[in-house]
């Protein structure tokens, strides 16, 4: 296979001339340039993670990246006889793995997630360009199922006061003391928890939270809320994404379709299915826009900024390898992610819907590609 062929320069012919096929000019883009730019775009959010969640955040990101790079180096060495770490794709995967783990997870969780991401999700399917699912998300899903208690989103801040230095020891020892892994949940999980424990309807809790107790929208935008290491700061993630979209390395269709679909779903889907929670709620189609119009905007923004949606929409769902190649296809893909995310969030059991909706949509990519091939020049419409 061409991919496995050793790199070579064509042999010079007579007169020392090199003969190749046209074109004889090359654009500037390379895989390495794209991947390192994505990594650079993630750096602000990675740096801020230390401020939000303490030095454990750096420890996790560092372990995830180092494991990803080492795993990639070993496997490419064995498979191809050369190391392709320099192309930066393993660093990006490692960063994303680190980003979607909670800070209080035990130290080996990022290592397991990275090994699964690179060794199984990426190289078992043929390596760069051939994997079906986003490696970082497969790694995350694996540890989510394997170590459920580690994967409850961290509260913010993890430890008050000396959270920059104080928790290095606990990072190795297990769950840090003083943090209740359950009550320190991410905003979305909190809503479901409260609704369940107090027997309120979801709508009542939402009303309560969105106006009194829920995390403020500004906090959610800046990132000073509970959640996984790299997902909380919409501001920093979007800044990095704007750079990537400007450069053309992130296709704007995906985040646009994704976020728009989630927003529309949050607005127009009923808050509970017929009969409501425990059969006490109103019946019929009751979306937020009709039953609580004054809270609708806040509810939508809450969904957009909450959980891993920003990280997922701009960095996970836009992974080139696991998304459709056509422009129309990317719109469908983004919308599909949005539909699944909002369905899982409103009616599903897991608080974090982004990971699984993207993985499910990754599976549909060959089909979407087949449907959306452009009309070839000169062929019938």
């Amino acid at each position: 296979m061409a991919t496995d062929a050793p790199q070579h320069r064509p042999q010079p012919a007579e007169a020392g001339l090199v003969v190749g096929h046209w074109p004889h000019l090359r654009g500037k883009e390379t895989i390495a340039r794209i991947m390192w730019s994505v990594a650079a775009a993630l750096v602000p959010a990675a740096v801020a993670a230390g401020y939000f969640f303490g030095i454990r955040a750096y420890l996790h990101i560092g372990l995830a990246v180092a494991t990803a790079v080492i795993t990639e180096a070993i496997i490419t060495r064995l498979r191809l006889g050369k190391m392709t770490v320099g192309d930066g794709s393993a660093v990006v995967s490692g960063l994303l793995v680190g980003f979607c783990l909670p800070a209080q997870a035990r130290w080996f969780v990022p290592i397991v997630a990275s090994v699964v991401a690179i060794a199984i999700a990426k190289h078992c399917f043929g390596g760069l360009g051939y994997n079906i699912w986003n490696p970082a998300l497969v790694g995350r899903a694996f540890v989510h199922i394997s170590f459920p208690t580690d994967m409850n989103p961290s509260a913010w801040p993890v430890l008050t006061g000396d959270h920059f230095i104080g928790d290095v020891g606990t990072a190795v020892g297990g769950l840090p003391e003083g943090v209740d892994a359950v009550s320190g949940a991410s905003p979305l999980a909190a809503v479901k928890d409260i609704a369940a424990t107090h027997g309120y309807t979801l709508a009542d809790v939402l009303k309560l939270l969105t106006f009194r107790e829920g995390p403020g929208l500004w906090d959610m935008f800046v990132g000073t809320v509970g959640g996984c290491i790299g997902e909380t700061s919409a501001l920093l993630l979007v800044l990095g994404a704007i750079y990537l979209i400007y450069k053309g390395w992130v296709r704007w269709q995906i985040p646009l379709a994704y976020l728009a679909t989630v927003a529309l779903g949050a607005l127009f889907l009923p808050l509970y299915l017929t009969g409501g929670e425990g059969g006490t709620g109103p019946t019929g189609w009751q979306p937020i826009i009709t039953c609580m119009p004054d809270a609708a905007l806040r509810f939508v923004l809450w969904h957009l900024l909450g959980g891993g949606l920003v990280l997922g929409a701009f960095y996970m769902a836009t992974d080139m390898v696991t998304t459709p190649i056509t422009s129309r296809g990317t719109l469908i893909f983004g919308a599909g992610c949005g539909v699944l995310t909002i369905l899982i969030r409103l009616y599903g059991g897991y608080p974090e819907a982004v990971c699984y909706s993207i993985l499910l949509m990754n599976t549909t990519v060959p089909l979407i590609d087949r449907w959306t091939q452009p009309r070839i020049f000169g062929h019938k419409r």
């Binding site: 061409a2 991919t3 020392g16 190749g20 046209w22 004889h24 895989i31 794209i34 390898v321 020049f377």
Partner: protein, 463 residues
């Protein structure tokens, strides 16, 4: 300004360093080697033999078949014999006529004299063009008299003169537009007369304002002739894309421009048509650009067909040690493995590059750039993956590739240019086309053998 364009295309650095260099005439070389195969279709048959004296413009190769073009002596002198040389377009060996110049540069009888052309009919124009051996000088080298004779029932209403010159580095067409604007308009009018087209349009990219002004002035007073400005991008000068951008008509798959009433000629071809019909001058010289980062003195040169490439390299002060020699433009020109080559009618550029661009073919990361920039809206990524699959032994890959637009690709290379993985996309596409050609050939041979066998059987039974 209202610029015509079409979806897709790329913007490689233009590097048109020689745009302001006046055309310089290369002195008549002491020895010429004129390939007999300088056009698409059958090579011409030699009509001179060793030791024979020839005059400038005398026919030395007669067209052989319908799609074939005549070849003429570039100067007066003696035929030194038939030689086997490398054809720069295919890399294969081809026949050529070597001529030792006598230094007189004397025209053959009746050539180079003005002819009354305003009242010629279509057949007379085509005859004059055929006699002059004019072929498409943009690089495709299709015999022009054949092109000027569109199939029955396909009326051409618009002639496009292609002055886009979208290939980086090349500036020869630009200089010809500045120097020979009047002749180009005359060539356009002759094409219109030969085909009965009512409209003529000269197509120029907006990076050549001087040429636009020049041709606007030259075309100004003529009925039906106009200049149209196009967005500067590669491949703006591709025939089908140019028609789409200019007329909004899409040539159907497998079809010809005549199917949508259009006909495209390169500016230098228009110049050659004008010379052939109005001055009775056969196609024995052209203007080309010698450039590239290894050229110390790049320039635009008027050269006779059959001039050794080495003469041009010396003229442009190309130092030894360059790694790549390209004949044509950098996007679609052909790499050469030897410098023992000669100028042909289709040689638009000679580029000497210090370092060759290497496509080492990594995996496709599905970034979609090739799909976005493809001027033919095929999926180059898919075609290249099918090509690799074919090399892996999947013989059905070519059928799938045909469904995916294998034959609709114009081989412009925009996909490979933007590919971050440096995949050999065009190479793989050409490979599959070659394999398809071979398969069809084999099938034909098999059918013929079977037919012959059946015939023998029938005869046997009949006995």
């Amino acid at each position: 300004m209202n610029r015509a364009t079409y979806p897709g295309g790329v913007h490689p650095p233009e590097n048109k360093w020689t745009a302001e260099s006046e055309i310089e005439t290369i002195p008549v070389s002491p020895r010429f080697v004129v390939p007999l195969s300088q056009s698409l279709g059958a090579p011409s048959r030699p009509v001179v033999s060793e030791g024979e004296t020839v005059r400038k413009g005398q026919m030395i190769g007669r067209p052989d078949g319908f799609i074939s073009a005549a070849v003429h002596a570039p100067t007066s002198g003696t035929v030194a014999g038939l030689e086997r040389i490398i054809d720069s377009a295919t890399g294969r060996q081809t026949d050529a006529v070597a001529i030792e110049s006598d230094g007189l540069d004397a025209w053959a009888e009746g050539l180079g004299e003005p002819r009354e052309w305003q009242n010629l009919d279509a057949d007379a124009i085509r005859e004059a063009v055929a006699a002059a051996g004019v072929v498409g000088m943009g690089g495709a080298t299709f015999p022009t008299h054949v092109k000027l004779n569109p199939p029955k029932g396909k009326d051409v209403d618009t002639i496009l003169i292609n002055g886009a010159e979208c290939e980086p580095y090349l500036t020869c067409d630009y200089r010809v537009m500045l120097d020979r604007a009047q002749d180009i308009v005359t060539g356009l009018r002759l094409c219109m007369m030969a085909t009965g087209a009512e409209r003529g349009c000269i197509c120029i990219e907006d990076n050549k304002p001087a040429a636009i002004a020049c041709l606007q002035e030259a075309a100004g007073a003529r009925d039906g002739c106009s200049v149209r400005v196009f967005e500067t991008k590669y491949p703006q000068g591709a025939e089908k894309q140019l028609i789409l951008a200019c007329l909004g008509r899409e040539v159907p798959t497998g079809g010809l421009p005549a199917d949508v009433g259009a006909l495209v000629q390169n500016v230098q071809t228009a110049r050659a048509i004008a010379d052939a019909v109005t001055r009775n001058v056969p196609l024995i010289e052209r203007v080309l650009t010698v450039s590239g980062d290894a050229a110390g003195a790049p320039g635009n040169f008027r050269v006779r067909i059959g001039t050794p490439i080495a003469v041009l390299l010396e003229k442009a002060e190309v130092q030894d040690g360059f790694e790549e020699l390209i004949l044509g433009g950098p996007m679609m020109g052909k790499d050469q493995f030897t410098t023992d080559l000669y100028v042909t009618k289709g040689t638009s550029g000679v580029l000497a590059m210090r370092r060759a661009a290497i496509y080492d073919g990594g995996p496709c990361i599905r970034c979609g750039a090739c799909v976005r920039y493809c001027p033919s809206q095929v999926n180059p990524s898919r075609l290249s993956i099918l090509g690799e699959s074919f090399l892996d032994g999947n013989l059905d890959a070519i059928d799938a590739a045909i469904d995916a637009g294998l034959m609709d690709c114009i081989l412009c290379g925009a996909c490979a240019y933007v590919c971050p993985s440096r995949r050999r996309i065009v190479h793989l596409i050409e490979m599959m086309r070659g394999e398809r050609r071979k398969a069809l050939q084999r099938r034909r041979e098999k059918q013929e053998a079977r037919k012959a066998e059946l015939k023998r059987e029938v005869e046997k039974v009949g006995d």
